[in-house]
């Protein structure tokens, strides 16, 4: 009996060792692909003066999407499977270079569609060329309102869509105006009335500060604004001014980006200014990259921060899987624009399949307008386009070809070294993960 069992085990093992490679071959070779590939152009900043880290993450996402689509038999058009190839061009964050590279992608690489971009200026500069060449495009990161509104050719008059009924540009990142009010609404709901804004002297910081200050003041709160230069490392003089106030402010809102915001947050913590029992600290979405955040802010600074993009508690299986791949590649949580860049390639592939063509721009645009697709960031659809051209009067123009549901939330760390994936969502209420709208530092929700 024992001998028989051993014999059977050996047979099974032998079968497994021979069948396993065979099954792998099957998995690899189960798709018959056409010789031609569908080429999608990507545009991202891959060298200075552009935001290289962002561009590299986007490039990774474009290619990961192509790999995943190809592993799933590519794009099927009229019963034939086509592989997707993404060719990424380096915009260098400059409109001039972005335009040149877009032209190269269109003319020399003969791309069928485009995805990108990181910088709004590059998106604005390339839109005219993309329209003129009728390239279906899904933008995944630019925030400027005008990217999806009208092609921002100030001197062209009517937006392109009114000339031939087709507008080839879509956007799945939020417009700036959509991001605006969430943090202010949250703080006002907590009853703050003495606000200090620390603002970087750039066109991100200044308009954001003006917008938030106006909202606070309209609600009767007092606002003090302190400007800082990006790259500043020593904030002690500025923070000492806050410390010298007779009463601590209710909130310190940091409208400063990148490493500079980390330095500022750390020094606020070291000086015991915020967050404290009396003073709430709110920084921005960069804090979500928890490895970078805790490496620079090691002293347990439980600032709240706004997050653009899907929150971890709502991660679908697809989002979890994508995040795992990103973490394996880069050792950090996937940023929202990389998720959006990944989804953008999928939206195009899906539209081409439904349009039954990779080159009929009008058919692809029509198919994108009719998109109803669940991807890593949620369900994608477009309310307004040629399929539904009448924007209600109170709907801003940027909603044309704009995904209406990018999620904007306020999150908060409550343990030192916590992952961004574990941070609590405190606002809006509908997304709250710990049943509270603020976690007092030093307490657990």
């Amino acid at each position: 009996m024992k001998r028989n069992a051993l014999f059977i085990s050996l047979i099974v093992l032998l079968a497994m060792t021979t069948l396993l490679p065979a099954s792998l071959v099957y998995a690899d070779g189960h798709c018959e692909f056409a010789d031609e590939t569908i080429t999608i152009g990507g545009l991202a900043p891959l060298s200075a003066p552009g935001a290289v880290a962002g561009g590299v993450a986007m490039d990774w996402a474009f290619n990961q999407a192509a790999d995943d689509i190809n592993a799933d038999c590519g794009v099927e058009i009229d019963g034939v499977n086509y592989q997707i190839d993404v060719v990424t061009g380096d915009s260098e964050g400059s409109p001039e270079r972005g335009q040149a590279v877009t032209e190269r992608l269109i003319q020399e690489d003969e791309v069928d569609a485009m995805v990108g971009v990181y910088h709004s200026a590059v998106g604005l500069a390339t839109m005219g060329m993309l329209e003129a060449n009728q390239i279906p495009t899904v933008f995944s990161e630019p925030w400027n309102d005008n990217v999806s509104a009208n092609g921002i050719r100030e001197f062209d008059g009517a937006p392109p869509r009114f000339e031939d009924g087709i507008d080839h540009i879509f956007r799945i990142s939020p417009a700036s105006s959509m991001v605006g009010s969430v943090v202010v609404d949250w703080l006002l709901s907590l009853g703050v009335d003495d606000v200090v804004l620390i603002v970087e002297n750039t066109d991100y910081g200044q308009p954001a500060a003006a917008d938030e200050a106006a909202r606070f003041e309209a609600a009767g709160a007092t606002v003090s604004k302190i400007d800082v230069e990006l790259g500043t490392e020593d904030f002690v003089p500025i923070l000492s001014r806050i410390q010298a106030r007779a009463e601590a402010p209710d909130v310190i809102r940091i409208l400063v980006t990148g490493e500079t915001s980390f330095n500022l947050t750390q020094q606020m913590s070291e000086l015991g200014i915020a967050p404290t029992e009396d003073t709430i600290c709110v920084t921005n979405q960069f804090a979500f990259q928890s490895d970078q955040y805790w490496a620079t802010v090691p002293d347990g600074n439980y600032c709240a921060f706004n997050r653009v993009g899907i929150i971890p508690s709502l991660f679908s299986d697809a989002a979890v899987e994508l995040n795992a791949k990103y973490e394996e590649a880069w050792g950090d949580i996937i940023p929202s624009f990389a998720m959006a860049s990944y989804d953008a390639v999928y939206i195009l592939a899906d539209a081409m399949e439904r349009a039954g063509s990779s080159s009929d721009a009008a058919a692809i645009v029509g198919a994108i307008e009719a998109t109803d697709l669940e991807l890593s960031q949620g369900r994608y659809y477009f309310d307004y386009g040629a399929h539904n051209p009448d924007l209600p009067e109170d709907t801003p123009a940027f909603m044309w070809h704009q995904w209406p549901d990018p999620i904007v939330t306020v999150m908060q760390y409550y343990e030192q070294g916590q992952s961004g994936l574990e941070a609590a969502v405190v606002y809006p209420e509908v997304y709250q993960t710990h049943g509270t709208s603020y976690i007092v530092p030093g307490t657990s929700p």
Binding site: P95, E96, R104, D156, T202, Q206
Partner: protein, 388 residues
């Protein structure tokens, strides 16, 4: 080498180097005139050339200011930006002369009008800065123009309500041609024409008595002044002149000829350092050398974005392709840095200087002078030997 010697003597005994140089220059111009008509060239290639022409104007005008007049300014990109931003703002918002009660609406200002105003304002700002500053010497101008450039860039960045901040400012398009191919062709000739005109005007200035004064000032300001050259006046003159040249180039280039919008990042010191590098590589004391250096550098920076090395003997990469593709990314700038270091160490007059010198025949004059001095020295040695 022997072939080159034979070739050299044929040219010297035939039409002469200078004439041969003109023929080569004519052929190069003919090539550039023919290039956009080559149906195998894409619009992308023309775009790269348009960008090359723009940077050629920037580098050659800087060569005139720094290489010939000896005024080391880092404000070139700022003046270019002034031309472009003023042209854009005026075309969008019009002009109001509050004191005179005159308002000119944007609709009544054409793209050309906006460019002219942008150019004049760049010159005017150059005049004010020059008047303030050019009484000072050497490092002060460099330091002040760095500060001025940064000041202007930050202004453009933070006054986003007017300038668009880092989203940039779109200028009124200079050309309104619907057909993309035809538009690119016209844009190409426009920028090439502007380069030729700028080079001719700068060449005229550099070879006029003004050019002599400028060189004299560069070599020794005190001596030039002692000989009657109004040093400050000529410094201001050349500063204003080059400011207008780059203001014009910027206003034209960003009027949708080379790019659809200008952003403050374009005015960074890093961009200025690239202009200086182009001029140094091409030859700071030669307008054509600096222009050629800029054009070639821009072309190479674009061409080396991706280096494809075909594998020999039928070898293939793991993906089955027969070539190794190196995405150079920022490395091409590192290579550019190496070329710059090499140039500064071994060929301070620029990589193109020997070629330009050969064509101009100046090396023959130098050889003659050296051999004459040598023979004079030999004669003196003989005399001394005789005395002994």
């Amino acid at each position: 080498m022997a072939f080159f010697k034979r070739f050299e003597s044929t040219i010297d005994n035939g039409i002469g180097r200078r004439r041969f140089g003109y023929i080569v220059l004519g052929l190069i111009i003919l090539f550039f005139l023919w290039f956009p008509n080559d149906s195998s060239q894409s619009n992308y290639a023309k775009t790269v050339f348009i960008s090359g022409f723009f940077y050629a104007i920037m580098a050659s005008s800087w060569a005139l200011l720094a290489g010939i007049a000896g005024q080391f300014s880092f404000g070139h990109m700022a003046f270019m930006g002034i031309g472009a931003y003023v042209a854009g703002l005026i075309a969008r918002d019009g002009i109001i002369f509050a004191m005179l009660g005159i308002a000119i609406s944007p609709e009544s200002i054409s793209a050309i009008g906006a460019i002219i105003i942008g150019t004049l304002i760049a010159g005017l700002v150059g005049l004010v800065i020059g008047w303030l500053l050019l009484r000072l010497r050497s490092a002060y101008l460099a330091l002040f123009t760095i500060a001025f450039s940064e000041l202007f860039r930050i202004m453009m960045l933070t006054e986003y309500d007017y300038t668009g901040g880092s989203n940039g400012l779109s200028l009124r398009p200079l050309l309104q041609i619907a057909d993309v191919d035809a538009a690119r062709q016209v844009e190409y000739y426009l920028m090439f024409g502007l380069l030729i005109v700028c080079l001719l005007v700068m060449h005229w200035v550099a070879n006029s008595p003004i050019g002599l004064f400028l060189r004299a000032m560069r070599e020794d300001e005190d001596a030039a002044s002692a000989l009657g050259v109004n040093v400050v006046r000529y410094k201001i003159l050349i500063f204003v002149f080059t400011s207008m040249i780059v203001g014009l180039a910027g206003a034209v280039f960003y009027s949708d000829v080379g790019s659809e919008r200008i952003i403050p990042e374009q005015l960074e010191v890093l961009q200025m350092s690239l202009i200086i590098a182009y001029a140094v590589i091409g030859g700071m004391e030669s307008l054509v050398g600096a222009a050629a250096g800029a054009f070639i550098s821009r072309y190479l920076l674009e061409a080396t974005r991706e280096v494809v090395i075909a594998l020999p003997f039928g070898l293939t990469m793991s993906d089955g392709s027969g070539a190794f593709v190196w995405e150079t990314g920022a490395w091409r700038y590192a290579l550019f840095g190496v070329i710059m270091v090499f140039t500064l160490r071994y060929m301070r007059n620029g990589l193109l200087h020997p070629i330009i010198t050969w064509f101009s025949g100046r090396d023959l004059v130098m050889q003659e002078t050296v051999s004459k001095r040598k023979s004079d020295d030999d004669y003196d040695d003989l005399l001394e030997a005789g005395d002994e």
